[in-house]
Symmetry: D2
Subunit: 299 residues, 4 copies
Amino acid sequence: MMRGIIPPIVTPLRSRDELDVEGLERLVQHVLAGGVHGIFILGTTGEAPGLSYRLRRELIERTCRLVAGRVPVLVGITDTAFVEAVHMAQFAAESGAQALVLAPPYYFPNSQPELLEYVQHLAPELPLPLFLYNMPTHTKTIFEVETVRRAMDMPNIVGLKDSSANMVYFHQLIRLLPQRPQWSLLVGPEELLAESVLLGGHGGVCGGANLRPRLYVDLYEAAHARDFEHAAALHAEVIHLSTTLYRVGRHSSAIIKGLKCALRELGICDDFMAEPFHRFREEERERVRKVLAELKITA
Amino acid sequence: MMRGIIPPIVTPLRSRDELDVEGLERLVQHVLAGGVHGIFILGTTGEAPGLSYRLRRELIERTCRLVAGRVPVLVGITDTAFVEAVHMAQFAAESGAQALVLAPPYYFPNSQPELLEYVQHLAPELPLPLFLYNMPTHTKTIFEVETVRRAMDMPNIVGLKDSSANMVYFHQLIRLLPQRPQWSLLVGPEELLAESVLLGGHGGVCGGANLRPRLYVDLYEAAHARDFEHAAALHAEVIHLSTTLYRVGRHSSAIIKGLKCALRELGICDDFMAEPFHRFREEERERVRKVLAELKITA
Amino acid sequence: MMRGIIPPIVTPLRSRDELDVEGLERLVQHVLAGGVHGIFILGTTGEAPGLSYRLRRELIERTCRLVAGRVPVLVGITDTAFVEAVHMAQFAAESGAQALVLAPPYYFPNSQPELLEYVQHLAPELPLPLFLYNMPTHTKTIFEVETVRRAMDMPNIVGLKDSSANMVYFHQLIRLLPQRPQWSLLVGPEELLAESVLLGGHGGVCGGANLRPRLYVDLYEAAHARDFEHAAALHAEVIHLSTTLYRVGRHSSAIIKGLKCALRELGICDDFMAEPFHRFREEERERVRKVLAELKITA
Amino acid sequence: MMRGIIPPIVTPLRSRDELDVEGLERLVQHVLAGGVHGIFILGTTGEAPGLSYRLRRELIERTCRLVAGRVPVLVGITDTAFVEAVHMAQFAAESGAQALVLAPPYYFPNSQPELLEYVQHLAPELPLPLFLYNMPTHTKTIFEVETVRRAMDMPNIVGLKDSSANMVYFHQLIRLLPQRPQWSLLVGPEELLAESVLLGGHGGVCGGANLRPRLYVDLYEAAHARDFEHAAALHAEVIHLSTTLYRVGRHSSAIIKGLKCALRELGICDDFMAEPFHRFREEERERVRKVLAELKITA
């Protein structure tokens, strides 16, 4: 049963198709030191779809070895090709990962019956427990509430991460939980961590936890413990970070670019990015530095 | 310089991750017998994103061998991972393909500057001429007119296939052609073949040409020769096919399902589909049979 | 300074263009008895754009007379025509209303500079304080955060109602509040009332408060008082109502239809609707009756 | 039976809520001199939703008087309020108009059954023949093919204007025509006039015909007469105008702004616009002047 903060870690890169191995070590060490409850690799923040399969496997292998069982490692296997998703899942299991994460196949638009069947066909082929991943801005297809309800019937589907930023939807999912009390309902956007945990969610897959793992862990714990005043204060810090760091760039890639740039400034890892994205230039870096100073973030 | 009808062929499958080898032979023979000017594999109609990389390579190799230089083979290399697109392009070149086709990377939303840079970085790494592929319903990102204009500066980008179904956009692209008279501007939706060729386009990548290659070749030639009455009559046949066969299913997958089902009924190839899609059931098959009879389509 | 629960009341109709005058009296009495802090007429729930201008004026006049100053009456003046919005505002002021509510003009897509200018030109012409109304599903245009920040400079713009259901956006607006401490930030979707008030919002414009005004008032007060356990319990009731009553119909009109049908069942007002909508038929009415029984809602 | 070019005329304004009466006279004279087959007032190009009802009535009355039966006058009655649409239709009939034009009510999203019922309820209340108007970018709701087929059963619905720019859809509508041979199928975007008339459409409601009525009339006649070479040459002129004049501004309002600015430069009418839009400033005016010179457009 997954609870708490599971950072979707960025994939440190040294150049095209080359992992920043030392950066990965420092990053894993950094988030573990912050008390996180798991690590999620090969998600959206990890630029997974932009990485070669070879690099994805290298990342799985090294991360599992680095984490060494201290927390669960969740591996994104989202793929447009069913067979490739299964292969990646098998590799993850062999490497020692604990769970898998799957968004809908994202090239073709899927109807809900097609999506449900897809999940029903895929889940039995997987060697590890599976989290569904709702990410409509990128996949075009939502996991509708009724589809989630039906997917809950499958024993090795153990939770869902919702990155839709739609809390009306999230509250509808919370109402399904009595059907599977051990399920994990996690929220993606860190701006919604406080309210989702206060009102029945189980934690967050927060990009900002790459940078300040302790802040998100503390917020989770305060919300979970119903220490409302503390939660509200930490929530305000999260919103402050979000409305400054993630607004440095102009495009929707600005969140990942901002995170990678900040991690470089802290000396944690390289900020090289997979195509079609590119690291911030000096002008944006200077603004990131100012944000880090204003937020008093140091390594 | 590519002109005419280039069917985006379906990928005949026998089961999950197994090519229907005999079906592929019959299909290639069928479309070549219809006089097509090229064959496009691994496009949307070919369910490319749903196929394993192994099967994609098998398909490239076998198709190039079957076609044996009689017409150009175009290979879709669209991928979310830059490195994988390059690998597939190299494999296509080694297998004897003549050109490549690339839609935008389709997981992350791309801004136009990011998309242009992506194309500018990728094209020089490719061993074959490249066609851009505008397919916004599936990739979320459009190749804006100004981006196409800039991409025309790259010598090994030789054309664009537009599946947006937006003829206002298409006419704007036609106005760019004097800049590169050898460019090929091809239209995706077969319903727009007549008008696009009449008004300056160079041909079509028409799904229906899997089934009735001669119809589309005749229409192209009539439109190209300004034999307007003949073109209009053939256009009406295309619209008839499109408004019956492609409307058998309910979801947006109905076009590929209808094509595969019809090809099976004609004894050309299997109608197994890659996840998340599944072949029509008996009820829809019966309706497809009626459509084929009504349209007098036989193998 | 507006705080608390302001129900967006339905417009009771007896037939096309005929107000259900007795129904309106009972409805106003019903929500006032529930302790609401204001009444909002001519919003989306009030089907304002579907009503004739004559009926809108009749509704304004009667409601102001019925409320008789016990709570503020807010009047929606959203219109595609600037001049008509000004006229309705003048009529509202003459009738004794306290404030106005304005969504973007909703036929033409508006750019943000155009929207800001529109608000800057309109606000000075209005005889009453104005609330902005963010409702992108219906108006296509969002009030972006920067536009709101600029609009806050206008003295007679006194708040914003956000019906986007996007709490990331809402938290960004909360961060603007120190600029105008007297501003009111209200949330539309009742499913978000608890979290928005807990984390800095000032209340809700909740459709369900037509039916159960006391529930929403209690929830607002519990959240405002930081009585977290009570708030969570009432929030669960709201979600229960929302996931049952509002899901009886199939289309997006289901929320208003469900509310009107329930109010009819309680004997409060007629459920006639303005075109293009129509009241539930017997089948759906029966389901609404079951929901009311399950939720133990009686007049 | 409506055939040919029906310009959707701009509404000349002198200031907020004040018609430019002399400008309207010159504009009507200008388009009639160009040989147009009808005049459409109060459409999107006419900024109808942005005008007061008083001004809309003044425009109807004056235009009908100016045209004096020389060509049919079509009046847009699109409204979010059923009752107001009926009132405007009655006023148009009394003023001597020949037909009405109606897009879906555009605040609430409509389902297709709701939209069909709306049309079925409204048409019998109207004193004049009705054209449907498909304009999904502004109304959010499309008239689906099946809905149009059902609407064709109503005797006083006599045609449809399609501004979706989706020619696949348009060809599907053409296939419905044998059901009602007297129906008129008109296209909105002028870039699609040539192909739509060549392949079975009946004419165009072209914004550019405000400026160069003769160009569009000639194109319509060439396409209708199957004089293909002439049609293609005139089509190229239309695309040239569209890709220059309509691209002067940055927002989607640029088309109307460009038209009004050009009409002012030609001395035909004022370029004042209804909120939320505003005339071009000197910088854009200078670019419009250059476009007019390049296109050799003079009054």
